[in-house]
């Protein structure tokens, strides 16, 4: 494990260095995301003037919900799949394939790097905003916070595995946009990033809960808001873990399958 970490850690480090080289872009990403965050905060503010509880969410719940989604989206970014798509389409993936490394682990560590760079900035923005906008105190039980931290970590891995699979699809499509935008839309809807899952019709919620996407946003938010507690929360974490393992193994075999059919462009 230590050996594994030592071998791949450089990918995270180099990615952080690269990101910090583009400080402007890093900041703009956060600013862009903040704009849409602020817009939805205003929207929900208006809605909560009419009624104090919507589908079981109070105003404060909703603000926290939006904050967590914002934080998660910044941490989880879309970098992975664009980079995989780019390296597949442009052919530079061969520079990774000639090295004694697993492509999947290499991508994971690269994603960890960009998450660290963007997450740090996003966490600062969210933290500050949340303190100003609502009474955070009632959400911050230490035991719950620990579960929340674990669920974010799991959410990160689930999101990575899904992005990795989407990125690999470019082996077959010779184009990244379609696959990646579709992946984003599906994730936004089924993970609860757009709206909490309880806002959807019951049948839809049921479908969403058997899909892996809910592990990305729904699970961490529910735990932080205290809507799932104790054994139920632990079960949700376990479900996340199952998804991580299933998707990782699937990604491993999908890569082997994809690479067999690869025709690397140029060079």
């Amino acid at each position: 494990m230590i050996r594994f970490f030592r071998k791949y850690k450089g990918f995270a480090g180099c990615t952080i260095s690269t990101r910090l080289n583009y400080r402007g872009a890093l900041l703009m990403n956060i600013v862009n995301a903040s704009v849409s965050l602020v817009a939805s905060l205003f929207l929900w503010n208006v809605l909560f003037q009419e009624q104090s509880v919507i589908s079981g969410y109070t105003r404060d719940d909703m603000i926290v919900y939006l904050m967590i989604v914002f934080l998660m989206q910044s941490i989880l970014g879309n970098g992975t799949e664009w980079e995989i798509a780019g390296s597949v389409l442009e052919g530079s993936i061969i520079m990774d394939l000639i090295k004694p490394i697993s492509f999947q682990s290499r991508c994971l560590f690269q994603t960890i790097g960009s998450a660290a760079a963007e997450g740090a900035v996003a966490a600062f923005v969210t933290g500050t905003a949340a303190v100003c906008l609502c009474d955070l105190g009632k959400y911050l039980a230490p035991e719950r916070f620990f579960l929340f931290a674990v669920s974010i970590l799991m959410a990160f891995f689930v999101k990575f595995c899904i992005s990795y699979l989407a990125g690999l699809c470019c082996f077959f499509t010779s184009n990244g946009y379609g696959v990646i935008y579709m992946r984003q839309v599906i994730t936004d809807i089924f993970s609860g990033a757009l709206l909490p899952l309880s806002f959807y019709p019951e049948w839809f919620e049921k479908i969403a809960k058997v899909l892996p996407f809910q592990s990305i946003m729904y699970t961490p938010t529910q735990i932080f808001l205290g809507r799932t507690e104790g054994a139920q929360a632990v079960n949700m974490l376990l479900l996340q873990l199952v998804w991580v393992i299933v998707l990782w193994v699937f990604g491993y075999f999908f890569f082997r399958f994809a690479i067999r059919r690869v025709t690397i462009q140029g060079g």
Partner: protein, 334 residues
């Protein structure tokens, strides 16, 4: 046995589009493919410490072969073994033994200092600290890395980038080094510098060199053995000198005359076995077959017709030989 390829074959499936929008639509509904044999039953053995040029015209199957040797591409048929490892089945084990330089690509990270890219490679290949230090010292000395190692790869000149890339590919002491167009786009002195470095690695570390290049000087300077591939098949696999002498029966003399030599040229046309060329009014190049004439005979022939001022003999070099193979003027049987 270090590198063995037996009946190596690669068949690509290419989408066959009919022309126009209708064709594109048709392809969506009912995709059709044509098969293209890129590499066709290629066999060779390469020993430790050899330096081999693997050459052929564009689209001959060179890069495809290299990609199969490096385990990137899956062979459609045949066997490969490199240092006892099947490169496709055991890509990672194979990657430890080989270094690759693709002249058109880089393994350096664009936005971070070169030094950090090297440290990443140290982690990836799990190079011990002492070995890493030793190699870095050597590369700083002979590759001149010291002058730009703290710069980001983005800011290197092409020559510096290629030197850094070559060093990067050698950092883990590979037994085999693949060079795919290692001097492409470099100017003459930098090319010479690159070649010297490659030669040194081959000589002093016994690194096996496999080179594909369109620069024939690379081949002449770096390789003792030349494998020529065309349309996926090996058409020649011999020592470089042998290749030269096999085709050396055509020689030439370049003769400068004291007076304009149009009439001499006309007279020489009576000998159809000679290939003639008027370079300018005073200079005639005469190409002849060694089996039919000697250089002395040709010169005597001209001397009878006019006064000669100067003579130079044209020896065939590898460039001409290979250019001829490419133009399919020569049939090779070996």
């Amino acid at each position: 046995m270090p590198i063995i390829a037996r009946d190596l074959t690669k068949v690509f499936k290419m989408p066959a589009h009919a022309p126009g929008i209708a064709g594109a639509l048709k392809h969506v509904v009912h995709p059709q493919y044509t098969e293209k044999v890129a590499v066709d039953h290629v066999s060779f053995e390469i020993h430790d410490g050899e330096s081999v040029a693997y050459i052929g015209p564009n689209g001959a199957g060179k890069s495809t072969t290299i990609k199969m040797l490096t385990g990137i591409l899956h062979a459609s048929g045949g066997e490969i073994e490199i240092q006892g490892v099947n490169p496709y089945k055991d890509r990672i084990a194979n990657a430890r033994n080989v270094g690759v330089v693709f002249g058109q690509r880089t393994q350096l990270w664009w936005d971070i200092p070169v030094e950090e890219s090297f440290r990443l490679l140290k982690d990836i290949y799990e190079i011990p600290d002492a070995r890493y230090k030793e190699n870095m010292e050597l590369f700083k000395e002979v590759f001149g890395l010291g002058e730009f190692i703290t710069r980001t790869a983005r800011r290197l000149s092409l020559g510096q980038r290629m030197r850094a890339d070559l060093a990067a590919s050698l950092l883990h002491d590979p037994k085999v080094l693949y060079l795919d167009e290692p001097t492409i786009g470099l100017d003459v002195t930098v090319k010479e510098n690159m070649r010297e470095l490659i030669r040194m690695m081959n000589r002093e570390r016994g690194t096996t060199i496999i080179l594909t290049s369109h620069d024939l000087q690379d081949i002449e300077d770096l390789c003792r053995r030349v494998i020529v591939i065309d349309q996926g098949r090996i058409i020649s696999d011999v020592e470089r000198e042998q290749l030269q002498s096999m085709f050396a029966h055509e020689r030439g003399v370049r003769i400068s005359l004291k007076k304009p030599g149009r009439d001499v040229y006309q007279k020489l046309l009576e000998h159809p076995e000679l290939r003639l060329e008027m370079e300018d009014a005073h200079t005639i190049t005469v190409m002849f077959d060694l089996h039919i004439h000697t250089a002395y005979e040709v010169i005597s022939l001209v001397e009878e017709l006019a006064d000669i001022r100067d003579i130079s003999v044209i020896e065939p070099d590898i460039k001409q030989v290979i250019e001829k193979i490419y133009r399919s003027e020569l049939q090779v049987n070996s």
